[in-house]
Symmetry: C2
Subunit: 530 residues, 2 copies
């Protein structure tokens, strides 16, 4: 795996051989550990396959990330590749709304994005985690410029309507983390001092723990109390001269208030995998990725081709489609078919799949997901509140998060993600017209940012469960389905294999689509070589 | 303060008036809190001064950030401005070494930077914290493009030579934070369960605390034990299909090992102020800031003008200088003098200052500081280890941190900061030749990164205490000096005032220089208007 890494792989391997020669297996394991090779097994590149697909053909259904990946890699392997895509552009859910972008949801009003030039919202995938080496494989190979997407910002806000004694306050994550952990460190440090932990820990460990807690919570040297710290922010920031000079420290939030509010649970010791820094976004919009693929395999894509039926036999697969531009029907016959349509869409296609496969397809639910981009004529979050990117977390109904853009720093305007909602919230909000959704988002946002309403210029929203050809944000698996349906779907049938984020444990991520495509194309190739 | 914020100030103020009218002062305070106005008083713009400096002149010594700021703002106020700068370029310590940049330390070998085009090292200031609104005021006003400087990376490494049972391992901050906090949460959660905290906390608070600890430490629902979490990283990352499928969780580091290693103390609950996200750097190098000033006030700067003497009287100040290009002496007479020379340099200038002021100037020590940039022909930290920016923290002698670049993501080459050392370490390393320093840095770095040595191409290093016109990284204050010397220095003498990072509590930061300049130019203006 990882054909792009030949040089360093050899280097590493060489060292390991040398290490083994010198010190035996013990040292080998030691070296592996020291270099973190024990940890981290990441699908970092397409499978290295032997043999050629020359003379064989594959029809790929859908030009989302899975379809594009398969088309690109299978063509390199020698296959004759044809892609059928219902939309007039590639990318699937990976879309970027910028000026002129159009979307009409099923049964909805047409929307046309009117953001200013240079501004956009990634209303599909919007983040590339560092762990998603598969996605990063292509951004590197295609030289797609990346920039940091601020996914973690201790200087943003938490705003709870129902936060007990801390309700309706704009709290900074830094305050919450500092104070919560400070108070907890104090409590435990005093337990150590009171010898309550003599049973659990040796004297040495208790001494080390006390050292750690003093540092972790910045406790007072004398009485081990937590009295605040610079990391939570100052009441008056330090500066020049005598005034402000050293500045004025701020007072911590009380332990009882923090506990009663539940706000400590908004953050945890570390970001969950895969939400950790460093997070990326392509400069200019996430659709730079499908555009880069399109440049390489676009000539094989038939756009506006809505798949109608799939028939497969001993020797080939036949797919019929409707050209939605002309209304005419078309047919493609190929040796193999890789179907990357979302299951939510595939279930409506006329196929000769077995009942078992059809049942599996139908059993997977798709997530209702909504997003809205709000162009603001002034970056009040930067100018007034010194928040540069990241998320405002809130319990405001139907909002979940307000996210601030990680591009166009300090410029005049910016597009804010006004909500990112799921499930029932997403369904409820999706019943509104585009204009009503904007009003809904603004009415919530102005509770947190006073300049929200007056700064608003235009909106673009999506409810993925109402988007034709998707009918949901991503596949939603439960344990039962993972056990029953997942293996059936992975297996496919005869000359038809399925691929997409839905056939991964990275659901909703581009990496899931890419890595699924890598696996399933390898299986097609295996069958073709057999 | 903050003349750039007129619109939103009015808006806020309006709301506050309305709030006060409706609900009296109580509501007013409430609203102020909700919007965080109680917190955060940041010097966000130059002082708004009335009156004109027309007909008055000021000679500014030094074209670093303080001198440039004063020149720019005082010219706008109407003053005739002249700047004397010893170097052939503006910026002072704010320098960026890119191809062709030259530096010869006192008594040292000449260095000429040979990095590839597009690569550089900010060997002076390299970070702009979000809290430094003064610096951000000018990047915004001058439209200097910014990008995120990754200052916090949970996926980087900690590497301790002397870390007890965890010595010589490449640990990820995410592992340490997750495990340390997990174990601590478990310990405290069990204390709650054992009723050891009944005296300290009410039953309600204990319930809330338990909730919090379960979340903070991701404890097992049943026995409240910490068994690891996704945030610490997987043994095998999740992916597509059945293999890797859901991936394999990794085992936590043992509590005793963590305690005995002391590694938990490398990180704390929150980043210290001002190290928090979002951190910025100008695209292309920190010297974009002085270059932007230079464009506006460069015509008033006399370069290669080494200040020789300062004489001040009732009516004016006279400064003599040596033109180091021609060897000729020159004289400038002005109504006022703002001297921004580092105290380390000023102490050697012939002045007629009082003994009190001279003593104060001499009493302040300057920090020995060293940095080295290493151009690597391959971004092995990204390709092999998936580290994108941030710092590798280590106890390797004389290294302190190895920092990975936050620009040129996924490109071929990159410039790594090989060490950032202070005090005795900086003095020791600075005794080496440039080539020896590079070897020193590589010998350390290859203990952590196996590809370090083979990837190395060229180096550029600086030891600020050996740099002419600086003789140190920044002013180092102690409590006694802050009490005795600081007020004397702030006061200046007659028509001479001092400014620079040394006259702030933001020592070593550009914001200290800028805000000091704002304060001291206001005092000159006050005297001029009197």
């Amino acid at each position: 795996m990882g054909n792009n890494n030949t040089t360093q792989s050899v280097t590493r391997r060489d060292f390991l051989y040398r290490a083994a020669a010198v010190g035996g297996t013990g040292l080998l394991l030691n070296a592996m550990n020291a270099w973190g090779m024990g940890i981290a097994s990441t699908m970092a590149g397409p499978p290295v396959l032997s043999g050629s697909g020359k003379g064989k053909s594959v029809v790929i259904l859908g030009a989302g990330l899975a379809g594009l990946t398969a088309a690109y890699e299978m063509e390199k392997l020698g296959y004759k590749v044809q892609v059928l895509e219902a939309r007039s552009f590639a990318g699937g859910r990976c879309q970027t709304a910028r000026n002129g972008f159009e979307l009409t949801e099923l049964g909805g009003d047409p929307q046309r994005c009117t953001f200013d030039k240079g501004h956009y919202i990634n209303h599909g995938p919007w983040r590339i985690p560092l762990h998603h080496q598969s996605t990063l494989h292509y951004t590197r190979q295609f030289e797609i410029p990346l920039e940091v997407m601020v996914n973690d910002n201790d200087h943003s806000f938490v705003y709870l309507e129902n936060g007990g004694p801390l309700s309706k306050q704009r709290l900074r994550p830094a305050q919450i983390k500092a104070d919560m952990r400070g108070h907890v460190a104090e409590l435990l440090a005093k337990s150590v001092q009171d010898h309550t932990l003599d049973r659990q820990l040796t004297a040495d460990d208790q001494r080390s723990l006390l050292d750690y807690l003093k540092h972790e919570g910045q406790l007072e040297a004398g009485d081990l109390s937590y009295k605040g710290r610079t990391g939570r922010g100052f009441a008056v920031n330090p500066g020049a001269g005598m005034n402000p000079g050293p500045g004025t420290l701020s007072d911590p939030l009380g332990f009882h208030d923090l506990l009663a509010s539940g706000v400590g649970k908004v953050y945890s010791a570390v970001q969950d995998f895969p939400m950790q820094n460093t997070m990326f976004q392509p400069v200019g919009g996430m659709d730079m990725i499908p555009k880069a693929f399109e440049k390489r395999v676009g000539r094989h894509i038939k756009y506006r081709a809505e798949v109608q039926s799939i028939r497969h036999g001993e020797n080939n697969v036949t797919v019929t489609y409707k050209d939605t531009a002309t209304g005419k029907a078309g047919t493609v016959t190929a040796d193999y078919c890789l179907c990357t349509l979302p299951l939510s869409t595939l279930r409506m296609v006329d196929t000769d799949f077995s009942d078992k496969l059809k049942t599996a397809i139908k059993s997977v639910a798709y997530a209702p997901v909504g997003k809205i981009g709000l162009q603001m004529k002034r970056r009040f979050w930067e100018e007034d509140d010194h928040i540069y990117g990241g998320h405002v977390l809130t319990d405001l109904k139907g909002i979940n998060t307000i996210s601030l853009p990680s591009s166009n720093w300090q410029k005049k305007k910016g597009v804010v993600l006004g909500y990112y909602n799921y499930q029932l919230n997403a369904i409820e909000v999706s019943g509104l017209t585009p204009a009503e959704r904007a009003e809904f988002a603004i009415a919530a946002g102005e509770k947190i940012f006073p300049a929200y309403r007056e700064s608003f210029e235009s909106a673009f929203s999506v409810a993925w469960h109402r988007v034709q050809y998707n009918l949901g944000g991503w596949a939603e698996w439960n344990d039962k389905n993972r056990q029953d349906a997942y293996p059936v779907l992975l297996e496919g049938e005869g000359r038809v294999l399925l691929a997409g984020e839905h056939l991964s444990y990275l659901t909703g991520w581009q990496a899931g689509a890419i890595e699924s495509a890598w696996q399933q194309m390898a299986r097609i190739h295996e069958r073709a070589m057999a």
